[in-house]
Symmetry: D2
Subunit: 162 residues, 4 copies
Amino acid sequence: MIHFINTGGTFNKRYNRVKGTLEVPLDYEALSEILKNSLFNQKYKITQIISKDSLEFTKNDRKLLQKTIQNIKEDKIIIIHGTDTMKKSAKFISEIKDKKIVFCGAMKPYEINSVEATANLFLAIGFIENSKNGIYIAMNGVVDSYKKIEKDYKNGIFYKKI
Amino acid sequence: MIHFINTGGTFNKRYNRVKGTLEVPLDYEALSEILKNSLFNQKYKITQIISKDSLEFTKNDRKLLQKTIQNIKEDKIIIIHGTDTMKKSAKFISEIKDKKIVFCGAMKPYEINSVEATANLFLAIGFIENSKNGIYIAMNGVVDSYKKIEKDYKNGIFYKKI
Amino acid sequence: MIHFINTGGTFNKRYNRVKGTLEVPLDYEALSEILKNSLFNQKYKITQIISKDSLEFTKNDRKLLQKTIQNIKEDKIIIIHGTDTMKKSAKFISEIKDKKIVFCGAMKPYEINSVEATANLFLAIGFIENSKNGIYIAMNGVVDSYKKIEKDYKNGIFYKKI
Amino acid sequence: MIHFINTGGTFNKRYNRVKGTLEVPLDYEALSEILKNSLFNQKYKITQIISKDSLEFTKNDRKLLQKTIQNIKEDKIIIIHGTDTMKKSAKFISEIKDKKIVFCGAMKPYEINSVEATANLFLAIGFIENSKNGIYIAMNGVVDSYKKIEKDYKNGIFYKKI
């Protein structure tokens, strides 16, 4: 069984028609909609925490993430996270050695580009199936130890260091 | 590098506005559109063969599939295939022992449900990253050796035998 | 107030994931979904009849359509109808002189191309606002008396005779 | 022939994957995509000016809009405009008496909700077909003289004053 932790970020952003702005909602509607259309025979759990743009994550937010993971009994964990500090959070929780943890997110909100968000999420789901314990990032078609994945901030794309 | 073989099936079906019917096209437009939106920093190849509903596959079609795989030098191969005889084709090529081969497809055309098709494809892409040599099926959130995956024809869902 | 009569046709077609075919459903889900996203402050009614591909309409079906219209007290009526015999049905009910009746539909199912279906429907809604009594067809950006609109069966497009 | 003037506003907004924000682009890509899928046999022209959120329109912008309209020889004009000051612009150009002018836009970007944007645009297209000269607003299913249409800023919906 996979346990999803949804922390916010671009993946979840939704347009508020009254305010005219994109917001990180307090729910996991985007995640639910993808899984409803694609994960038919699998059981899973979802935990919702933080619900922020990852540029606004504080040290306390990362401590909460760490504690949440430690309290989860499943060993397969996928974390939906903003892209800007995804790697920083991965490093922060790197003391956890007994689980398979994959971070993913999206460069465009699911509401705008459902294909990219779905692709990143299922890259993580497929990868976690037979990975060893460790902390990984799955984005834009590349997936590996968080140490080997970098965000190219200029072009808005994740890549693998060689 | 991943080598995709596109053989047709529901995944690729498109609506013909003049005839008013869904057709399996001779191209890989659906696959291209997904990869364009989601696989930014990966190199890959695409080979197009057969282009049929999998109920219409003949023995010669399966021999062509087998030969195509044997001639490919990459060891990571993802096959887009109709769902009705996906398992039959997997068994047919099971003499091939030196590659990682993952079959996937969709229960609804990409043109109608982009999330399901994308999810199945990226389940395969994530899985192949660290799988052993073998022949696998990735559908509806489950992925394993083709021997362990079955299609529930009544409900239109793939599941894992326990 | 606009009264919609939904009779079936391509506009409504949905993919059945088990059978693998497109079906004309017995409901008006496509219509509801468009109106929910776009008609916020208007009251309207929906009547569902026939629910067929318009090539399969019988004389009795057209009599039912005629009777349904005659029993409706609103004078603004929009009919969702298959494209192949839309004009034939318009002619069949042409004895009705005291209402504004606009036929529309789609060359691609709403499920596949939401823009075309929405465009045809709202072409009708905008047109009916200040049209005179009469029977009209609104398709592919052209709208006029049903006598002046023709389907180009070869290219799958409606046009206005000059 | 209809002449579209695209001035910007929510209708056109697109997500910038690098900056992570919604921007009003300098082009009319959203409009083109809708018309490509729905206006098959009609000739039309598009003029692009201003390209701003309508809250940022200056007096000079409105003078430019006025002059642009006066220089257009077609008498059917549809203006894509931000919703916040759509009515203000309509009033500003109300000295123009010899044309049919319909303002429309969207509460959600076309990139996020293609149905709403398409519906508003085609409400305008259908309405202009047999309207008298005048200045109108077409939004959320209601269309009438700009004097009779109001934006409910609290709920983000346009309505007709009674």
